[in-house]
Symmetry: C2
Subunit: 457 residues, 2 copies
């Protein structure tokens, strides 16, 4: 065993102290905003019953669920026929009862149904936990990654949608992003568009095509629409909608005209207007809110608002998204509970912040001061000072006696400790300690009290 270099399973990661500090900075910031808006944290188990998860993510999704082998003599209860036929797929359910969480949405739905009698609705919850998918690992795609979800269930009020816009704006601004766009759309507007061209049943084809406007341009979209069976007449009606320009208010006005004959389309316009009205009281900090009718993510489950967030500072896919769904808990037998939610893509936000150098130095500093001594006498001299620093909530360390100055200085540098206090024989005699700013290199002789004051203690 000694010769095998230890490793982690592919697609999984260790997080070193420096990475953890940055990740904590992101998660703590986002959680703080969730709490400010009245959301409360829950956690669900890593393992769910396999039956809770299967059938919720489509056939492809089911294959990506990590299954946990039953404990003990699992073959004793295995399906003999499938075993003899070597049918991995059909054998699984007889040797595996549990599986790893694939997302936070299905466990949340299970939680709401299971605990419905203890929950106060509207239930505003957030959840930050890892999920696992047996996807092929590639750059930026992992088999274990954190999701960061915030949802409200049991409230149809569009105030919730407005607050999701505020939450994105506040959290991403606090993280230091300067230019990002929160795109908003409404499923009912997409339905309305399909309705006015009498292609209500082709809504998926329609939205898949116009969703590509950014990538393939108008000509590309038209070509694809023709291929998918839309007529030139349809396209003439669609053009002004696809090419919608101007302020959100102007777009909404044009949409109302284009969707004048569609009740559901107008309802979508009303909903968007209500969200915009809520937001007039709250100037956005750094976000741009953009009505984008080409936004069609999650169309199979979103029933109202649809959100997506993109940074305009670096090339990166979506860093967040969400929407309203009207039947989250139906899969577990609790019908008619409306909900809405958004999520933050923590790994991508991390990459954006790295690229833009947005992590504050303080996020990576854990120890504020290292006391450097060389022998037992210095240790004894240092201990009361160390204690005093910690009593004043200064994160402080004393390097154990016996190491050379160079080694102790390297330790301080590697840990990004901003200050050191050097205690040699001169210092012990005079009571004036060498206090060094590790970044500027500036060094002063100061009393212990003066050092405490410098460190805000």
């Amino acid at each position: 065993m000694a010769s095998i270099k230890p490793s982690v399973p592919k697609g999984t990661r260790d997080f070193s102290p420096a990475e953890m500090a940055k990740r904590n900075f992101i998660f703590d910031t986002i959680k703080g905003v969730f709490r400010k808006y009245g959301y409360q944290q829950i956690e669900t188990p890593t393992m769910e019953n396999l039956s809770t998860l299967t059938g919720k993510y489509g056939d492809e999704g089911d294959k990506l669920i990590f299954k946990v082998l039953n404990s003990g003599d699992y073959l004793a209860k295995a399906d003999t026929k499938q075993l003899d036929e070597r049918n991995s797929n059909l054998l699984t359910s007889s040797i595996s009862e549990k599986a790893l969480r694939y997302d936070l949405t299905v466990p949340f739905a299970r939680y709401v149904v299971q605990h419905q009698n203890e929950i106060t609705f509207p239930f505003k919850r957030f959840q930050v936990q890892p999920v696992w998918r047996a996807d092929k690992p590639q750059k930026g795609r992992y088999r274990e990654f954190y999701q960061c979800d915030v949802d409200v269930v049991g409230s149809a009020s569009l105030l919730n949608e407005a607050e999701f816009v505020m939450i994105y704006d506040e959290a991403l601004s606090l993280l230091g992003l300067k230019d990002f766009t929160i795109k908003i759309n409404n499923r009912k507007i997409l339905s309305g568009i399909a309705q006015v061209i009498d292609k209500y049943d082709s809504i998926i084809d329609l939205t898949v095509a116009i969703d590509k406007l950014d990538k393939i341009g108008l000509d590309g979209v038209i070509k694809e629409l023709l291929e998918r069976g839309f007529t030139e007449a349809d396209i003439d009606k669609l053009k002004p909608v696809i090419l919608l320009e101007g302020s959100n208010e102007e777009k909404l006005q044009k949409l109302r005209e284009a969707l004048a004959t569609s009740e559901i389309g107008l309802q979508g316009c009303d909903e968007l207007e209500t969200v915009f009205n809520y937001l007039q009281y709250t100037p956005l900090k750094r976000a741009t809110l953009e009505l984008d009718i080409t936004l069609a993510r999650g169309l199979n489950y979103y029933t109202g608002a649809i959100f997506e967030v993109k940074t305009n500072e670096v090339a990166m896919g979506s860093i967040g998204g969400g929407g309203r769904y009207d039947d989250l808990t139906g899969m577990f037998g609790l019908k008619g509970l409306t909900g809405a939610g958004i999520s933050f893509g923590a790994d991508r936000i991390y990459d954006v912040m790295e690229e833009l150098n947005l992590f504050p130095a303080s996020a990576e500093q854990s120890t504020q001061v290292l006391i450097i001594g060389f022998d037992a006498a210095a240790e004894a001299y240092a201990l009361p000072l160390l204690q005093q620093l910690r009593n004043n909530n200064v994160n402080a360390e004393l390097y154990p006696a016996g190491a050379k100055l160079k080694k102790q200085m390297e330790y301080a540098n590697n840990k990004q400790i901003p200050y050191t206090i050097l205690i040699g024989s001169d210092e012990m005699q005079s009571g004036l300690l060498s206090f060094k700013n590790m970044q500027s290199g500036e060094q002063e002789k100061l009393s212990a009290d003066a050092i405490l004051a410098r460190l805000g203690a």
Copy 2:
């Protein structure tokens, strides 16, 4: 499916908002103390390669590791012979490459070896993550539970041991525990005791017997020692050591006399004395530090100090423990790296705090104020105030329009929101809002500015 009540796998738990708030209070407090002492957080993946974990926890431990089924057509690569013979035990390694983390120690050892070239030693790390064991669930024993470990590797200094005592003292005091004992022993003293009675090879038998002093008393221990092959003469020599009384200094003095002929025993005494000396500069807040030579936990891997923590306020097993080990990373081929560490038993600490009612009310409050209105006019009136509260970092919510007063008040009570602001038509006309302290029931008419001031904003 609708008829099946959804549930979680046995031995696992959901954590509701109230439980999460309390758990966060515990973890945040402990993590804050770890950081104050210069420890940094890491995280390792939930899944490790099965080969990383097997053989580290004994045969019984290996059986309790949750194995993850390989993805895809796992039977295609399965061992045909074991499959035909239905040998679950031997088949496992050919259909499962990965397993769930069983503790934090082995993954930490794997981490240190894998990242040894990036790590600055002494490496002071903490780790708070769940672990999984296929144990039979029972009261207080779960299949998924959090461990909370803090370790230093690459430093032989006994300053580390002294700081572990301080960390226990500070963290548990901050959590509100008033009377708890940190027991300390040293493996070398146990070796010395075995040596002076010429039973060095029977150290396990010896320590297993004297470890039971608390439970079965001196007569019981003597009986067990006789059964295990110790002589009356041995027992005469052991008695004064087993019945050691007085202050830690007195005990140490008596131990030095009893172990005068054992070099290793005296070394153990020296080490303990050094730890006590370090601690003289740091009066313990609420802990009692007790030298207890009957403490023998983890004897198969601890090589120096041994720790265990017990509360004296309620009947509960150990709420923490640890020690020094000299070969943590040897299992992965990196020899000679000394380390020491302790852990906190978060679930038991939670139970102790519940029983003693130690969670501060603030730990459970997430939203500080709920604004109550009834219609769109009140919503429009409330939104700027809501925004102002949040801008001043007051966690605030506005209940969406349309619900009755009773329902909104219940919502505030269930969420333990300490204050409500009621906005009715009178309030909007006068500008004086009804501000209610939900605990005292006291209600006043105040301007928005006065309310902001009351909430510290």
